[in-house]
């Protein structure tokens, strides 16, 4: 298996710079997910690693060797495309064995490998079918099978689940996680869905506008977002972000005034903050409570009942919208007035340029 190292990777299309100097180490056998909003360059970055796009500047090292100029098939990678990109005129077996066929691998060996991969993916019964006779999930499996047959050092996935319906997506997500476990391979996975990123990754790379915003383990990103962008992007429902102003600072705490809500003490220390500086306070829905100790008044606008939990979308007195996760059997209803408890310890503080403090 293999490591992938990106050193100052840049990519421009004409005058348009889409990847702006990416540095990243991908360890052997790790599952790395590139995540970000559409247009952030995550797919382009994957295509640069795959060799489907030429790297404008910087070095790509695969297993320590520079691979910038190696053709795609010589990099020891296999890619699963968003559209599956199956060969429509070939059978499932033909699709999976294509790479071996053009590499002139003897028929018997080719068949053995195809059947082996089909067994892993439970495709044995479908080997003689054409792609158009398969369901979406089956096509996805064939695309993965085509990658497995090549025994690559690194698997690349380009939004592989985005064409599947919700139920199938969850199922395939689990299958991909199991596959990673059983194949013991390095995997690089691109998605815009942060839930996929959170559930699959050993390491998440959050991208925006062609640059890395933060790299880290899923829970690390969840609990310690480096800036407002990562805070807002990772986690579902989204982190509540409330505008505020610094009122006072001490050695152990910062007091802020939440616009239209009230004052709050946060146990952080910063030498960079100035009084009256505009800041943002972030707090996750599950860290908020609705109870008698609540300091702040709000009105329930929507109650989303998911069963085990309920999301209350409330409007604070100052007009800010806040999402609160409460118990599934809570009686709170639409139009109710509630008292929201915000605990300073559970809040994140971001300065005026959006950096976490």
């Amino acid at each position: 298996m293999a490591t992938v190292t990106l050193r100052n990777i840049c990519k421009s299309f004409g005058d348009l710079e889409v990847i702006k100097g990416i540095n990243l180490d991908i360890e052997d056998r790790s599952f790395v997910v590139f995540v970000g909003p559409s247009g952030c360059g995550k797919s382009t970055l994957l295509r640069l690693i795959a060799g489907l796009e030429e790297i404008t500047a910087g070095d790509l090292l695969i297993d320590g060797e520079r691979a910038n100029d190696a053709p795609p098939d010589k990099r020891g990678l296999a890619m699963v495309f968003q559209s599956y990109a199956l060969y429509p005129h070939m059978t499932v077996a033909g699709n999976m064995g294509f790479s071996l066929r053009i590499a002139s691998v003897p028929r018997a060996e080719r068949d053995k490998k195809v059947i082996e991969a089909a067994r892993v993916l439970q495709l044995e019964a479908l080997l003689d079918r054409k792609p158009k006779e398969l369901s979406g999930g089956q096509r996805q499996r064939v695309a993965i099978g085509r990658a497995i047959v090549r025994e690559p050092k690194v698997f690349l996935f380009d939004e592989p689940l985005s064409n599947l319906d919700a139920g199938l997506r969850v199922q395939m997500r689990i299958e991909i996680a199991r596959l990673h476990e059983s194949l013991n391979a390095t995997m690089i996975y691109v998605t815009h869905d942060q839930v996929e990123a959170m559930t699959l990754a050993d390491k998440i790379v959050v991208l925006r506008d062609g640059a890395i915003e933060q790299v880290g383990a899923p829970l690390d990103l969840y609990h310690n977002p480096k800036n407002l962008f990562v805070a807002g992007f990772i986690g579902s429902p989204k982190m509540n972000l409330l505008p505020a102003r610094v009122i006072a600072m001490s050695d152990s705490a910062v007091t802020v005034k939440l616009t239209g809500i009230g004052d709050l003490d946060l146990p952080v220390r910063s030498n960079d903050l100035k009084p009256d500086e505009p800041v943002t306070v972030g707090v996750r829905a599950e860290r908020l409570g609705v109870n008698e100790q609540g300091q702040f008044q709000a009105q329930v606008l929507v109650a989303e009942r998911l069963g085990s939990e309920t999301y209350l979308h409330v409007q604070m007195e100052g007009g800010e919208m806040v999402t609160i996760e409460i118990n599934g059997d809570s009686p709170a209803r639409i139009h109710d007035r509630v008292a929201v408890q915000i605990n300073g310890r559970d809040c994140h503080l971001f300065n005026s340029s959006g950096e976490a403090i």
Binding site: L52, P72, A78, F81, S83, A85, F98, A103
Partner: protein, 273 residues
Amino acid sequence: MKRSFYKKMAITLIAWSAAIFMFFPILWMLLAGFKTEIDAITTPPLLLFEPTLENYEAVQQRANYIKSATNSILISGGATLLALAFSLPAAYAMAFFPTRRTRSTLLWMLSTKMLPPVGVLVPIYILFRDFGLIDTRIGLILVYSLINLPIVIWLLYTFFKEVPRDILEAGRMDGATSWQELFFLLMPLALPGVVSTALLSIILCWNEAFWSLNLTTADAAPLTAFIASFSAPEGLFWAKLSAASTMAIAPILIFGWLSQRQLVRGLTFGAVK
């Protein structure tokens, strides 16, 4: 329900009228070929007459049909193969690896079709003379493949554009070279398009008259020259001309008829998905 019935009737009527209108000259030629020379030029034209084969006999005696037909087949087929040999890689490159100039190159190629052929007759004739290509099949194959190249490339380009890029990229990840991509992936996927392009090219070559009349005399003369030889200085012999024309268009007509399904399928390839 009623309305759609009338609509259908109207469409059928219009389609049939158009078809008959277009087919009429061919029908008239077919009939004239079986008339005597006198009957053929009678006014008002005769619809009922005693059919005769004398024109076909006369045509056979005066000119070598088999030889011309063979020339037509070899030249049309050869020119089409040659054009495809250049166009397939060209269209592949333009469809999947476009550069800033691809669009204008395509337009420029098409613009060469606007040039009246007679404008380059003299230079081409001199080139042909110097290279000993006059009245050779090779010469006509070269000229035909060149004049059809823009159309063939355009058509293939449009058909190739319909093939999802991902599939070729998957092929590249699987280790396919450009040629393997072209033959294992692109060709099978765009086959209806490639076949109808070839058919169209054959038909265009078959019907081409300007260059065949100017660059051949006897050895390489295709059917167009064969027909032309019947508008002789002694006057127009309508019946014999019609018989000769019927013989000249018969092969391509039958060929086109047999392949019309393929032709239509190819030309609408990708449009209905």
